[in-house]
């Protein structure tokens, strides 16, 4: 960009396109390359985390202990959660943001491309470190992803590696968030005012600020655990005058906004897809933006609903109960707007739309069970049961994961220039939907009946529902192989698509060629 003195014989010999071979991916600062890296990484981690889920479900297929020992079972529940949250959902959304944000706002690339490269490439090191703990003396971390002390302080040699890997993942997230904020605030095309930004950009914008606000809290909390274990401090050690319950407060002060970090970009994805396939403008755009902002704000004042049972003043319970229930209002606005967008639309049901509709329906189921859990007196009954497991899995699997899959089906023709296999896409949707409900719906029943979570054995009256859930788990897991097949097939070739791809698609990203040029928007577009 800067004016430079140049010699006539030295003309434009830098960076014409991707570097050849493997080094393209190591040294790339191109937002599309980095987005692709994030998405592949996320897919690989999805199968690693999914394999751990299948270990859990295999053990729970029947009552009794038959496949793994309880310590390893707890390690699996812990690692499964950490991988799915930090290794799958977050990187997948960062990958989608990398691919789509610049071309949605008319920017040539992310604002800080070198940092973008770094924020991706530290991830594999962080997760290698985390996974290496499985082979360490004392086994991997087994205290749950929440790392509550004093249990987490009993972790063996894995502990410092776990903490350091969480720091690496946090650094990656913070760098990604700052990059997204700088890109959105600095590189929008002329005319792209805030209230013209696509919803996916808006939701990521707010998510990035949430990340910036809460990541230091997680970093501080896990570092205090580390110093408690190795440096003789007693932040959370009751024996030294510390307060283990305070860890729960601090953790969930990070953790609840983190939940919204996992779901807000999903709202953005669905808000892009539904108008396209309903062939109507999004109903209530401004209210969608304000609802997203309200959800983000409320996420800071509801953390203690995760820990109603630790014992807190009645006024505290009431405050957190009502504040939590308040979240249903902006969330309801969103669901209403999606339904209103579809109302009398010229709807078609291609695979991205199917996944988006699946999201709306099943996320709402997860939302309703969330309202039930928000009721403090009722939560005393449900707390730490499979009802909670059913709730957050409904929000995260047919919620976030379905949104990510919908986004991939929606944008992969733009990324590759090839249409995916629609027949197999639909088979993927229906198998996933059937099995995901088979997997998680029975958990409501066993949870309400009192089956505790994070336990490898259970009373025989829960056997039937658990057997059904395990069948659902394997079915859902294998259904994702269809997704891999469809993605590979699409990347390798297929029917060529137009620039617009979808008849009802609107936005700057659809004005670029399919696939977009390696350097998009070298000419800045103007938004009218």
């Amino acid at each position: 960009m800067n004016a430079t003195t140049t010699d006539t014989h030295h003309d434009d010999h830098h960076d014409h396109g991707p570097a050849p071979g493997l080094m393209r991916w190591v040294t790339t600062t191109n937002h599309k390359d980095i987005g692709t890296l994030y998405l592949w990484f996320s897919l690989i981690m999805f199968f690693i985390g999914g394999a751990m889920a299948l270990v859990i479900r295999t053990e729970l297929f029947q009552p009794g202990l038959q496949v793994v020992d309880p310590q390893f079972f707890n390690t699996m529940t812990t690692m499964h959660a950490l991988i799915m949250i930090f290794g799958v959902v977050m990187p997948a959304f960062v990958g989608l943001a990398n691919w789509m944000l610049p071309i949605m706002i008319g920017a040539p690339d992310m604002a800080l491309p070198r940092m973008n490269n770094w924020s991706f490439w530290i991830l594999p090191f962080g997760f290698s470190m985390m996974l290496s703990t499985l082979f360490m003396e004392g086994g991997g971390p087994a205290s749950g992803w929440t790392l509550y002390p004093p249990l987490s302080l009993q972790t063996g040699e894995a502990f410092p590696f776990l903490i350091f890997s969480i720091h690496i993942l946090g650094i990656s997230s913070i760098m990604g968030a700052i990059n997204i904020v700088a890109t959105i605030q600095n590189l929008r095309a002329p005319g792209m005012s805030y209230m013209k930004m696509p919803l996916f950009v808006w939701t990521w914008f707010i998510t990035a600020y949430l990340l910036i606000a809460v990541m230091p809290v997680l970093a501080g909390a896990v570092t205090m655990l580390l110093t408690d274990k190795y440096f003789g401090t007693a932040f959370f050690t009751a024996g030294g005058g510390g307060d283990p319950v305070m860890f729960q407060h601090i953790f969930w002060f990070f953790g609840h906004p983190e939940v919204y970090i996992l779901i807000l970009p999903s709202f953005g994805v669905v808000s892009e897809i539904i108008p396209t396939f309903a062939r109507k403008k999004l109903f209530g755009y401004a209210s969608m933006v304000y609802a997203t902002g309200s959800i983000a704000f409320l996420s800071f004042i509801v953390w203690a609903h995760h820990m109603f049972t630790v014992g807190m003043p009645l006024s505290g319970e009431l405050f957190f109960m009502f504040a939590t229930m308040l979240i249903a209002v902006p969330t309801g606005v969103k669901v209403f707007n999606w339904v209103a967008t579809m109302w009398r639309g010229a709807m078609t049901f291609e695979t991205p739309m199917l996944f988006a509709l699946g999201f709306v329906i099943m996320f709402t189921i997860g939302g309703f069970s969330g309202v039930m859990l928000a009721l403090a007196p009722v939560d005393f009954q449900y707390h730490d049961t499979y009802f909670v497991v059913a709730h957050f899995h409904y929000v995260l699997v047919p919620g976030s994961i379905f949104a990510i899959i919908a986004a991939v089906y929606y944008w992969i023709p733009k990324w590759t220039g090839n249409m995916y296999d629609e027949k197999w896409g639909k088979i993927h949707f229906w198998t996933s939907t059937i099995f995901v409900n088979l997997l998680f719906f029975p958990m409501h029943f066993v949870g309400l009946a009192g089956m505790p979570r994070r336990i490898p054995d259970y009373a025989v009256q829960f056997a039937d529902f658990n057997a059904i859930a395990t069948v659902g788990a394997f079915g859902f897991g294998f259904a994702q192989l269809i997704f891999v097949y469809v993605v590979f097939k699409c990347v390798r070739g297929g029917e060529k698509v137009t620039d617009q791809v979808w008849e009802g698609a609107e936005g700057l990203e659809w004005t670029l060629s399919s696939p977009p040029p390696y350097h998009s928007f070298t000419d800045q577009p103007v938004v009218k």
């Binding site: 014409h16 606000a213 501080g220």
Partner: protein, 163 residues
């Protein structure tokens, strides 16, 4: 009779730039929220959140400044009867060049790959300065035409006047 103005000036600056008045407020918001949380926890004895918050806020500030600096420059092309001068105005990185007007050439150089934009180069005697890198191709073309026109007019004001 020559009536043309003696000096013409073109000012070019990137249209995307984080607005300076907005950023102090944004940073203040982040400091109040992030710092407030960390300070409250520190006062309760959980002080280890504070250094991470300070590190992060420092990183945000540094990167915001970096992005601002990248977008906060002006290129000024000034043409008078004697010379064409170019000033790159950026805090701490001011540079300028000047060329005798009668030797100046304006080149809109085609890219070697189609996805790259054209480059607008002004110079003379083997020294070239690229300007308008932040413009769109159409704007760059327009700037090249305008600069060529001004050079022609100021080199030969009478011819221009008659024309």
């Amino acid at each position: 009779m020559q009536q043309a103005p003696q000096t013409t000036e073109f000012n070019i600056h990137p249209n995307a730039g984080i607005p300076r008045p907005g950023w102090p407020w944004l940073m203040a918001g982040l400091v109040v929220i992030g710092g407030g949380i960390a300070l409250r926890l520190a006062l309760m004895g959980f002080w280890l959140v504070l250094p991470f918050t300070l590190l992060e806020l420092g990183l945000v500030y540094y990167l915001v400044r970096l992005v601002q600096r990248r977008g906060g420059y002006v290129e000024r092309i000034r043409i008078d009867g004697e010379q064409l001068s170019i000033a790159h105005i950026e805090p701490g990185k001011d540079r300028d060049w000047s060329f005798p007007l009668h030797w100046v050439r304006v080149e809109l150089r085609a890219p070697s790959h189609q996805w790259y934009p054209h480059r607008l180069l002004l110079g003379a005697s083997g020294r070239w300065v690229e300007v308008g890198a932040c413009l769109t191709d159409a704007e760059r073309q327009g700037l090249a035409d305008a600069v060529r026109g001004e050079i022609r007019r100021l080199r030969d004001p009478e011819h221009e006047h008659h024309a």
